[in-house]
Amino acid sequence: MVNLLLNENMKIYRRMRTWILVGLMAAFVILGNFVMWHENKSAQGDGWRTELMQEKERWTEQLKKSNLDEGLRTYYTERIPVIDYHLEHNIRSPQGTMWNGINESASLGILITLLTIIIAGDIIAAEFSTGTIKLLLIRPSSRIKILLSKYLAMLLFSMVLLLTLFVISFLLNGILFGFKYMDLPLLHFTGGQVVEQNMILHLWKTYLLNGISTVMYITIAFMISSAFRSSAMAIGFSIGIVFAGNILLEALQRYEWSKYLLFANTDLTQYMEGRPFHDGMTLSFSIGVLAVYFLLFNLVSWLMFTRRDVAG
């Protein structure tokens, strides 16, 4: 089994294509961080106080409007005590420190998803479309072991990407903003009061929750890959489903049953921010729904891969 995993890794990393994709991702992350750094210049040093006070004024002004959107109203009313807490306790806002950039980089996780989908969509289908599957399956390893090794290789690959993303954004933002304010807490409004949270812990929570959605996307791409047996179709379909799924979700939000849809549950960070897709959805509900989909997709992959004849 270890050997099979080594094989799959060899096929991923000893290939130019993989490194071009990783390079592309790194370039995006670097570019994105530079832009954010540029926009954040005014908040550096002691500028954060003025920035926060200005922000507070803006929100207070907005709150006076009567036709304000309900979501925005909650956001503003929760944001103002956080700003006050910053000013009163002389805790600097993450704005203008490396933490802001690193936090924002987590949103580039979509790039990781995209990249993993491309590789995962290809990992089974390519063996079929190039014909190498014939030599792969006539070895003393059952098909289920080969399937599992490919799946594990994909999970590993996404973890490598996640780590790369984190390391790049940490170093780059550190260099741009200076490695200062290492123990800066993150302020968060929960249960009617402002609490201090550990920044790194919060960061990793975001990264890992993003990771869970990546795992789901891998599983979908994997299933499609073993169903279609053609790389182009598998990659195209997987990416299509991810984007179409999210667009469709918006349209279906008014229906109660839409909370059972996969894409309503993949983004678990919705619970960290306290704004679930539907009221009444909880973290454990989403995890339950995801687990059902996860098992279903893997069952389909397994059936498709192990039961069908290799013809043509």
């Binding site: 050997n3 094989n7 014909g131 030599l135 399956l137 070895r139 003393p140 390893s141």
Partner: protein, 310 residues
Amino acid sequence: MSSEPIISLQNVTKRVGRKTIIDDLTFDVPQGEIFGFLGPNGAGKTTTIRMIVGLMSITKGQILIKGKNIKTDFEQAIRHVGAIVENPEMYKYLSGYHNLVHYARMVPGVTKERIDEVVSLVKLENRIHEKVRKYSLGMRQRLGVAQALLHRPSLLILDEPTNGLDPEGIRELRDYLRFLTRTEGITVVVSSHLLSEMELMCDRVAIIQRGKLIDLKPVQYFTHGSDTFQTYQFEVQMPEQAIAIIRRIEGIQELSISEDGLLEVTTEREQVPAILELLVQNQIRVYGVQKVRRSLEDQFLELTGGGQIG
């Protein structure tokens, strides 16, 4: 054990939907034999080979490799098999060497030394670290042979191995297979639609058409006819009269006049002097007699009725 066949097919049948692709195939191949699997395109050669190596499921019957069932005991059965299933398709973005490392990792006990040994056996030492993308077809074929031999299989399966090889490459492969059967006692099952190839390569040949086994004999039987009956050509003065005369003799199987006016008689060896005697007695001049060595191709066309696609 020489008594136990290396591979045994027992009533193997393959159906897809309502169509029967392989119909009740049964044969054994003993150790050290080069066994040819011959048939027109679409006869079911590739399907049979894919069932042997477990790429396709078997609808009915069973396939045993060294006594292990390929369906229920896949890992134990396939361990003894090395195969090239159609063109050897390798990972083009890896080097030849990494391709071999890839397959070596999948079977326990293949050392680095063994990889080097196989590489030198197929004479790829100089190019093995280049990417397969840069290989010529002949080199890919050789890499294909290398991956099939890595784990010292007892059974080597080749599906249309000569496809795309030049005559030199074909001869090399043939000599190589002979070498392997003699030195390592490897058993070879090879499929082809090229009759002349099979004639030179194989010990025994099975002919299949439309999924059915229609004949299975040592290759000499196909080329020389059976032991008792053989065909002789007589160059005679008046073939029509000669036919009328020879017809009186008992034990003649076939009698005809060939396109170039030769009399063709299929009979037992002992009848030849009698035929000659009779012709001379009847004042028909005989200029020559010779034994016809039929090519596998003739036999094949005869057996398959012109070799339409089944």
